[in-house]
């Protein structure tokens, strides 16, 4: 089956001279959850904004379900729902009115049953007659999602959906996203949190400085990116790592007072095993901490890898 979204040779240069995107090629598969991962200013929002029709591309071509976003914009846009990054809501309308407005704007005839379902799914039903300005930030975020879903889109864009969101909403949102995916909706979300991409996505694209660095299946990507370290501070100086601990490939610091275990996310289950083995070997540790390579480190690695690869 052809991709639901196909981006080829897409570039965007703003009037200010800023080149936000250069030569983006990207295929989004039907029914997947795709996470676009990148630091602030990487071009995530620009890419989404172009696909949704808010920003004009400088060059390149985008199709949504086979419809060109410029020449056949009506067909393309009617398939898309967008939840923007900022909490941009009008203030004086009721929740019901603003969600119904969105449905109409996307050309769908009024259908109270659909609006009711969307509001109930987002725990907004009790608030349907409240004015938006009376709602909390989290509730406003729910309203924005409800607006994006009001016209029953087949593609949903979530731009930084969990920035400044509490735990409960975050969990609700992921449940909703999974439910939507189960009903056949393709979901594209942007984030700069690795764990978020890890939790949700089927595939992950990494974008930096307006270029797609790589697109990969989540499991294989997390193996590359999600490296963690566990450091144990020892009570007594160690001259060498005992042979029984060899399977863990531990590193001993020069001072002999710290051993480091490097592992991938999927191997967290081995930590109790390691700690037991360390204790059994008679090694006493007074403190421990884990660390994860930051996204910045990962990008630096990616960029240097690329440079290394090209002569």
């Amino acid at each position: 089956m052809p991709s639901i979204i196909s981006v080829s040779g897409l570039s965007k240069k703003y009037k200010s001279g800023l080149e936000a995107l250069s030569g983006i090629n990207l295929e989004i598969e039907r029914g997947e959850i795709f996470a676009l991962l990148g630091p602030n200013g990487a071009g995530k929002t620009t890419l989404i904004s172009i696909i949704c029709g808010i920003v004009t591309p400088s060059d390149g071509k985008v199709t949504v379900d086979g419809h060109d976003i410029i020449t056949d914009y009506r067909a393309a846009r009617s398939k898309i729902g967008l939840v923007p990054q900022e909490l941009t809501t009008s203030a004086f309308e009721t929740v019901w009115a603003t969600v119904s407005f969105s449905r109409g704007l996307f050309g769908k005839p009024a259908n109270p049953a659909v609006i009711e379902k969307v509001l109930k799914d987002l725990s907004l039903w009790d608030k349907r007659n409240s004015k938006i300005r009376q709602l909390s930030g989290g509730m406003k975020r729910r309203v924005l999602i409800a607006k994006a879903l009001a016209h029953e889109p087949t593609v949903l864009f979530l731009d930084e959906p969990t920035a400044g969101v509490d735990v409960e909403l975050r969990r609700d949102m992921w449940n909703l996203v999974r439910g939507l995916r189960a009903s056949g909706v393709t979901i594209i979300l942007t984030t700069h949190y690795i764990d978020e991409a890890e939790e949700m996505a089927d595939r992950i694209g990494v974008i930096n400085k307006g270029r797609i660095m790589l697109v990969d299946d989540k499991t294989s990507l997390m193996r590359k990116l999600g490296r963690k370290q566990l450091a144990l501070q020892l009570q007594d100086k160690l001259s060498a790592v005992p042979a029984v601990l060899a399977p863990f490939k531990l590193e001993l610091s020069a001072s002999g007072l710290e051993i480091t275990y490097t592992y991938e996310n999927q191997e967290e289950a081995r930590i109790p095993e390691l700690l037991k083995a360390v204790t059994d070997a008679g090694i006493v540790f007074k403190d421990l901490h884990t660390s994860q390579s930051s996204l910045e480190d990962i990008f630096v690695n990616l960029v240097t890898d690329r440079k290394g690869a090209t002569p």
Binding site: R74, A76, T89, L105, G107
Partner: protein, 253 residues
């Protein structure tokens, strides 16, 4: 044609009007009444007839037009400026809706409100002065034309403005003077020849002349010329709006 979208935008804008219905009606009625007390009774009683029309009645079309112009511009400009200001414009830009449909929604709602207020002022005026309307059909047509024309102008203003200051700057510093100097409350025939010529560059002159003709059957400028100039103004606004959507001027980057 995305009918539901036009209805949605129109409905959204009209809801905004009805939320503030009291000030929407009370303010023009009060202003009109004050004008009649001052110009109609206090000063008007000492003035001679203009083109055979008592002064109190003569100023009625001007008063209606002044309100329609102000309301059209302020409603239409705020209608499109506010989503830009709050950021909700993203939804309109990402919707499967054409430029024509966006304009129909915003301008249609602004023009509707203007006509409602124009009608209220006409009703108020009829309490103060005996009114006879020679061409009632044309009176309605001209009211529609000027509501649409200045709502289009307001739309342009709303797109152009990047702050509330600019939004109020144009109506106060440009539109109000043009309205007052355009013969809303006097016949431009009363002006000295030089100023009479200067004033012919003011588009308001043609619209008020046309509007007054529909009331009293007499006009400062011939009806054909007035109609042509008014339609030219509309064409200019439409051309500008076409350019706005073609280039994405201040709407899309």
């Amino acid at each position: 044609m995305n009918g539901p979208a036009v209805v949605s935008i129109y409905g959204f804008e009209m809801a905004r009007t009805f939320r503030t219905i009291v000030q929407s009606i009370v303010s023009p009625v009060l202003t009109t009444s004050l004008y009649f007390v001052v110009f109609g009774s206090a000063i008007g009683s000492r003035m001679t007839e203009v083109h055979g029309v008592p002064y109190g009645a003569f100023i009625v079309p001007g008063l209606i037009m002044l309100s329609i112009l102000t309301e059209s511009i302020s409603n239409s400009s705020l209608g499109i400026y506010f989503p830009k200001f709050t950021g909700t414009i993203y939804e309109i830009l990402s919707a499967p809706i054409s430029a024509v449909e966006i304009v129909m929604g915003f301008v249609g709602a602004a023009a509707t409100k203007s006509m409602m207020i124009g009608t209220i002022i006409l009703a108020t005026a009829s309490l103060f002065v005996p009114l006879q309307i020679v061409h009632p059909f044309w009176m309605v047509v001209v009211m529609v034309i000027m509501s649409v024309a200045f709502s289009l102008f307001g739309f342009i203003l709303g797109v152009w403005a990047d702050g509330f200051e600019k939004l109020s700057f144009v109506p106060v510093l440009i539109i109000t003077p043009l309205t007052f100097l355009g013969g809303s409350f006097y016949s431009i025939d009363m002006l000295p020849p030089f100023w009479h010529t200067v004033t012919l560059f003011n588009p308001v002159v043609y619209i008020i002349s046309l509007f007054r003709w529909s009331f009293f059957g007499t006009a400062d400028v011939s009806v054909g010329v007035s109609l042509a100039m008014t339609l030219l103004f509309i064409a200019g606004c439409l051309g500008f709006i076409t350019w706005i959507f073609k280039t994405g001027y201040k709407l899309k980057s």
